[in-house]
Amino acid sequence: MEHIVIIGNGISGVTVARHIRKNSDKKITIVSSETDHFFSRTALMYIYMGHMKYEHTKPYEDYFWEKNRIELKKGFVKTIETQSKTLHFAEGGTLQYDKLVIATGSKPNKFGWPGQDLDGVQGLYSKQDLDTLERNAPDNKACNRAVIVGGGLIGIEFAEMLVSRKIPVTFLVREDSFWNGVLPKGESEMISRHIKSHHIDLRLSTNLKEIKADKNGRAKSIIITETGEEIDCNVVGLTAGVSPNINFIKDSNIETDRGVLVNRNLETNIPNVYAIGDCAQQREAIGNRRPIEAVWYTGRMMGEALAQTICGNTMEYNPGHWFNSAKFLDIEYQTYGWVFAERGRPEYERHFHWIHKDDDKCITIAYHKDTNVFLGINTFGIRMRHEFFDTILTQKWTVDKVIEHLAAANFDPEFYKLHEKAIVSQFNTETGSTIRLSKKGWRKIFA
């Protein structure tokens, strides 16, 4: 029986395993050095915040693996020998495979800051990181202040976690507005204000110069590059992005760049070796996507596609329209299609931006300035329907038509106050159109 070995029990590794099992009887082993069972990395913050326990973050009950004949092995793969198809473990021992899937995820970036390896300095990626944080910052007596370095999605989650335990947070962000490499100005500024309203000391256009140690080798303060200011703190969170976790592969025959290089079939240069999830790098970017996509959904999609290939039904990784979501403290964010920030925005892309007077809801719709074709939407504080936007992106609706049917896209809970009217009227004023909001439900429109 063919033995499929998967390194990494994250969303991508587990998805490929589950789908191989659905479609075949192959022997499957998942290797991981992190935890015994698959858990949801995206939920790490909620464990620290006391919303959930670790147990709750496991999407499958523990009996699931044995029942589905998916073997779990705990261990750290030190080297991969592709000639003899052997894995060597750091703990000793080896494992033979017939087909190998590399799904080792990411690791936090460190940019060579002085003091970056001190005690009290940490990233937020793994279960171990969470345990470390629990030791470093159990409460605001043990940790009087934390400094978070790097304004991305993990950075804001890290800050929210600490705030939940009333630990004062200073948040260093390189950009002049939060996450404005991705979010257009209006949104980025609204989120910046929201962060401050949660009493987080947000420092924009600010870089970390170094981390200073006390006499026990623990972080005691940080220095800011621009001003030389020293900020006392007990914990420094490094959240300046992630990069593929593939150091142990560098010496093998498997071709790598920043990530493990794969083609559209998710195959590496070595036959029967594949890579998926955060650690995979497409040789050529797909559409507007980045070559390395470090998000939950793409890991899942790659896992689904690769399982088909491994089970004999060769299939490209062919992601549909881009979507993503996040939550910035109290404000939920969803995106469908492409909406570019100022930086890197295609010349043809025009934006319509609406913001609620309470400063906690806004949307941005991107469309083509010549054809008026809808390109994408960012929505903050208003939930919208994935299926709606997926369909209209495929059908290439114009922005006018999207605005007209915006009510059908709403996915907020029942009885919520709706804002489509206000949005339509602002759109009409700005563009001189005379669109009237349609009341049709989304099923009716597509029927």
Binding site: I11, K22, S40, T42, A43, Y46, M49, G50, H51, M52, K53, H56, T57, K58, P59, E61, S164, S197, H198, W296, Y297, T298, R300, M301, E304, A305, Q308, N313, M315, Y317, N318, P319, G320, F323, S325, A326, K327, L329, D330, E332, Q334, R383, M384, R385, H386, E387, D390, F411, D412, P413, E414, F415, Y416, K417, G441, R443
Partner: protein, 540 residues
């Protein structure tokens, strides 16, 4: 703000201590005349009971309720023993006529109920004489303390949004010592209420004036329970309003259950009683209202003229037509989390414990067995009862009508719905009864599962499998298991509380009523891969 909270807590603890303490106060005793009168109004034929009761209760000693209860129960026992002895004697003599005569002298009834009825007349003391003051010291202070504890959250919890910080760190909400203390208190409370009413007779004294005002009669232990229920729900509803103030669905739903509890379950029945009608809760549907078709109820309803007949017809239509029709349009939620009293308590007092429900597949299996068995038994019981009522027989298919009613009332009505259902909130979560025991929920669930427009829609591929939805599902549904597959959630047990949707950080879940087509969507739709792959997966 913090200080106010703690002051509130202290006040609340003082109030609950006084409330509990009242049980140990007062003295109980009767005069000869009172005993005489009581025996006469009860129509006891026993020739010894009067003498026994006099011996027991006419005394200069200051009897506590516990001593009084024990003496009264002994008195009844002595009377019954007396006649049992005679029965045995005549039996030995084979004097059948004489033996037969003795049975009329025996006094039936639960000992603690007999004792309660006397205690209600026999009590005196500070509590009884100062009911108004005591009301303030217990219900009044308790509510004020609780509100002082709750209201500062408006500021302390910060801007509107999800407020689940620290839930799994706190002894009160993470099965710690506080949770166990609360459990012990609640369980003791229910045991006393159901099985030792005489021990809590002092509480009824506190509410006598209010009861007399509302229905013209003295307060019973059930009046105390009803009043306490409304008070607790009102106070805890304030907590809900603060906690979920960003979520209009939660606000509306909380207001609705509160309204139905206070107006339908409490006020209307009381007012009906004061008008000499049978007190009836118009929203309490059979088979949750399991004794609706019991002989005593049918008899009392048919005897009370037009209104009684109306209630009989209404109750029947409610269960057979209104309930399933509403479930078809709106799902089970219209009842379980918008109207029902049990649901109402679960969603207010029980909300802090909602995450404690068991999500394992095992408990889902257990749930289906247990709840459907209760449904079958409750229907069976009703069939037996009705058959016996109309035919005059004592049993059907070998099932004795009295036996099955008593057993059901004891095991399901008292133990399951009360002692376990509510008493165990702090450990097993707030919907134990609704999930495992309620026959009406089982019935609604069957309709919801197979013929309803209600579903929880999953928003395409947006789920990140974080598990908040499953964790906060009070019914123990593994919501995530569906959401992460892009599948809508159509489950018989879902009470539509809407909290999964509220806590989801990615906006994945929406409670909706819509067409039956595509309600249960095929798995793996739109997780993000393009159509071809999806077609392929869907063909399986």
């Amino acid at each position: 703000m913090k200080a106010i909270k703690y002051i509130g807590l202290v006040i609340f603890i003082i109030a609950i201590t006084i409330f509990t303490g009242t049980l140990f106060t007062g003295s109980f005793g009767l005069t000869k005349a009172e005993v005489n009168e009581y025996v006469e109004t009860q129509g006891y034929k026993s020739e010894v009971i009067k003498q026994e009761l006099e011996k027991a209760t006419v005394t200069d000693e200051e009897l506590s309720i516990f001593e009084f209860s024990s003496r009264v129960r002994d008195a009844y026992q002595a009377s019954n023993n007396h006649y049992d002895d005679l029965i045995a004697k005549y039996d030995a003599d084979k004097n059948w006529d004489k033996k037969g005569e003795q049975f009329q002298y025996k006094i039936y009834g639960k000992p603690h109920t007999l004792s309660y009825n006397l205690a209600k007349k026999a009590g005196s003391g500070f509590v009884k004489e100062n009911a108004g003051l005591m009301w303030w010291l217990t219900f009044g202070l308790g509510s004020i303390g609780a509100l002082l504890f709750i209201l500062p959250n408006l500021i302390l919890l910060g801007a509107p949004g999800i407020k689940n910080d620290g839930i799994f760190h706190k002894a009160a909400t993470n099965r710690g010592w506080i949770a166990w203390l609360v459990l012990i208190y609640l369980v003791t409370f229910y045991l006393a209420l159901y099985f030792r009413a005489d021990y809590v007779v002092n509480w009824t004294f506190i509410l006598d004036p209010i009861s007399e005002f509302l229905n013209g009669g003295e307060a019973s232990q059930w009046f105390v329970y009803g009043f306490l229920y409304c008070t607790i729900m009102s106070v805890m509803a304030v907590r809900m309003y603060i906690k979920y103030r960003h979520n209009k669905y939660q606000i509306m739903r909380t207001t609705s259950v509160l309204f139905f509890q206070i107006v339908f379950a409490f006020l209307i029945p009381e007012i009906m009683t004061s008008l000499n009608m049978p007190g009836y809760d118009f929203k309490n549907a059979f088979p949750l209202d399991y004794d609706f078709f019991f002989e005593w109820n049918i008899k009392s309803l048919t005897k009370s003229g037009g209104i009684g007949v109306f209630i009989l017809v209404w109750g029947t239509i409610l269960t057979l037509v209104i309930v399933p029709l509403m479930v078809y349009f709106f799902g089970k939620r219209w009842y379980c989390s918008w109207v029902c009293g049990c649901g109402g308590l679960a969603e207010t007092l029980g909300d802090p414990y909602r995450h404690l429900s068991d999500k394992s597949l095992k408990s889902w299996k257990l749930e289906r067995w247990v709840i459907h068995s209760v449904l079958v038994i409750s229907v069976l019981m009703t069939v037996v009862t009705l058959y016996c009522y109309f035919s005059g027989a004592e049993s059907l298919l070998g099932i004795n009508s009295q036996w099955i009613k008593d057993t059901y009332s004891f095991l399901i009505g008292a133990w399951f719905a009360g002692v376990i259902g509510t008493g165990f909130y702090p450990i097993f979560g707030n919907r134990v009864w609704c999930r495992f025991g309620c026959p009406l929920a089982a019935y609604l669930g069957l309709v919801q599962r197979f013929k309803s427009r209600f579903r929880i829609t999953t928003n395409g591929g947006q789920c990140i499998s974080c598990g908040n939805c499953s964790t906060y599902c009070e019914m123990g549904i593994d919501v995530r298991a569906y959401a992460q597959k892009g599948e809508n959630i159509v489950r018989s047990s879902c009470v539509g509380c809407g909290v999964c949707s509220a806590v989801c950080p990615r906006g994945v879940l929406k409670l909706e009523n819509g067409s039956m087509d595509g309600r249960i969507n095929p798995t793996e739709v739109l997780l993000g891969n393009d159509i071809n792959l999806m077609d392929l997966l869907n063909q399986k």
